[in-house]
């Protein structure tokens, strides 16, 4: 075991069901300062539900979520965001009518928290410069004034990451960032995520692409049918018979 930092996120027996259908079944895990955690599992395992509960989109039925030692269970998502939890979406959700630059600017913390104090001002050059720095890191600076809806698929994914980072979060959840990407794009994405690592304390990646996760993550967490079935270093976890069975035995989707 590698030496661990302090826990940033502590999930304790978190459960969520939809009309009797159990999506999360008493899941517990911790995420430590400085690590990249890979979250895998067959389709329908509850990975996205888990992210949706942690980011406040859904309320949990039971269990607790602690962020930096503080109980944040049931907090509305705008408060969780202000505390430092940011995310991207499996199906890209950009503000398509805004420009690329505006998509990043809208996440700027000062304005998002106090929208009405900015009513009679124009955007400060310092804010534009900070947003441009986010875009440059994600190789989008030359597209700043284009409408976000006109971006190519890979660019749109990167813009989502840039927007998530604009609020200076502590935790970044990436929900299937490599979905729909070819091998070359996935490699580029891997390099981009490494660049993000310096900007946040923790990255949690949900992915089906094992190569990407083997490459990036310090630890893997495997869930199947809403329950945790394995946790540990990528190599050991991917060799775990229970994990192999969950993937080969349960998942016959054509994903």
């Amino acid at each position: 075991m590698i030496a661990r930092g302090t826990p940033i996120l502590q999930i304790d027996s978190l459960s969520k069901s939809f009309r009797g259908l159990v999506a999360l079944n008493a899941i517990s895990f911790e995420v430590y300062d400085g690590e990249i955690l890979g979250l895998i599992g067959p389709n329908g395992a509850g990975k996205s539900v888990l992210v949706n509960v942690i980011s406040g989109f859904y309320g949990a039925n039971s269990g607790t979520i602690r962020y930096r030692g503080r109980d944040v269970t049931g907090f509305p998502s705008h408060e969780l965001s202000r505390l430092g939890i940011a995310r991207t979406y499996q199906n890209i959700r950009l503000f398509r009518r805004m420009t690329v630059l505006e998509n990043v600017l809208v996440a700027s913390k000062r304005h998002a928290a106090k929208p009405f104090s900015s009513a009679f001002t124009v955007t400060r050059q310092a804010d534009i410069a900070a947003a441009m720095a986010q875009l440059e890191r994600m190789r989008l600076a030359d597209k700043a004034d284009r409408p976000a809806g006109s971006l190519a698929y890979g660019e749109a994914r990167r813009l989502e990451i840039a927007r998530a980072l604009a609020g200076e979060p502590s935790i970044l959840f990436l929900d299937e960032p490599a979905a729909g990407m070819n091998e070359r794009e996935t490699e580029e994405l891997s390099a981009d995520i490494r660049l993000c690592r310096a900007a946040v304390d923790v990255i949690v990646i949900i992915e089906h692409d094992m190569e990407l996760l083997r490459d990036l993550s310090d630890r893997l967490l495997v869930i199947a049918s809403g329950s945790k079935i394995a946790e540990g270093p990528p190599k050991a976890v991917l060799a775990d018979p229970a994990v192999i069975e969950a993937y080969l035995g349960a998942d016959d989707d054509d994903d």
């Binding site: 700027s108 009405f116 600076a141 284009r146």
Partner: protein
């Protein structure tokens, strides 16, 4: 009201101005993504409240209208709080309900004359409205270039994502609903004191529908669209006055025709709240086409 040609022109200025303010009151609520069919009711409340203040308590007109606007704004927040929990077509139905019940409520209140109406209001003139249109237009123009506009755009486009970026969506929607209600009430106050007499049936549900028409026809993306739509639909009937009994028919056809030709409204461009200034310089130095002026950037 003044008689003769001057009076007709005063009427045009007054009604166009009031309708522009009403269109903007719907636009302000639409900024945060809700379509309100209740603004005719907020206008009625503003007209009656300010009327009671001037007629029964001898409060000066401008103060009465302002007080009525503020009170109606709070009323808007009060009814908006439960109403804004619903979305889309359900929210529209709730605002329709507001419009219907306010009219019925006024009809039942004897203090303001009930169905017989309420008279004795006076003192409004078109120039007050012209100044108000300029002020509100100026405020909306400033907001359209501000970081607040971006926040509103985010809430309008995807509430859930806006929340996840730290925006308190409920607060933003309530303030926009309350502000829209207040503006409709202020417009109603001036309208009432120009007409000198109020009847509840003037504030029929069709009034609210017309106000929404102004906005949809003019365009929902920028502040000029609703103003143009309101001005056009207020003045168009006057230009086809010679058609006599066919006037309502031609007016209706005109609306249908416009919606067929420009289903997104007359003015559809979206104002951009910030640009990458140094990029523009960089592109000007090279041979690359200026991205900032590309048509797609102005959708």
């Amino acid at each position: 009201m003044v008689q003769g040609d001057a009076g007709v022109i005063q009427d045009y200025v007054m009604f166009t101005g009031v309708n522009i303010l009403l269109a903007w009151s719907v636009y302000i609520i639409l900024l945060s993504g809700s379509l309100s069919f209740g603004n005719g009711a907020f206008m009625a409340i503003g007209a009656y409240l300010s009327g009671v203040l001037t007629v029964k308590f001898a409060v000066p007109l401008l103060i009465a209208v302002l007080v009525a606007g503020i009170l109606t704004g709070f009323f808007g927040v009060l009814v908006g709080f439960p109403a804004l929990r619903t979305r889309g077509v359900y929210l529209i139905l709730v605002t329709v309900g507001i419009a219907a019940s306010v009219r019925t409520a006024i009809e039942a209140i004897d203090y303001v004359g009930g169905v017989r109406g309420f008279g004795g209001l006076a003192g409004a003139n078109p120039w007050q409205i012209a100044v108000l249109v300029a002020i509100v237009g100026g405020v909306l123009w400033m907001v359209s270039r501000s970081p607040l506009q971006r926040i509103l755009d985010a809430v309008r486009e995807d509430e859930q994502v806006a929340r996840a970026l730290g925006i308190n969506v409920v607060q933003v929607k309530l303030v926009s609903f309350g502000t829209g209600a207040a503006l409709a009430a202020i417009a109603g106050g001036f309208y009432g004191h120009y007409m000198m007499f109020l009847r509840p049936d003037e504030f029929d549900i069709m009034l609210s529908v017309y106000i929404v028409f102004y906005v949809i026809l003019g365009g929902t993306n920028n502040l000029w669209g609703p103003a143009l739509g309101a001005a056009f639909l207020t003045l168009a009937p006057e230009f086809i006055r010679g058609l006599d009994t066919w006037r309502p028919t031609v007016y209706g056809l005109l609306i249908v025709l416009l919606l067929l030709i420009r289903p997104e409204g007359l003015l559809t461009f979206r104002l951009v709240t910030a640009r990458a200034a140094h990029l523009r310089r960089a592109t000007r130095d090279s041979d690359m086409p200026a991205r900032n002026r590309s048509p797609e950037a102005k959708r």
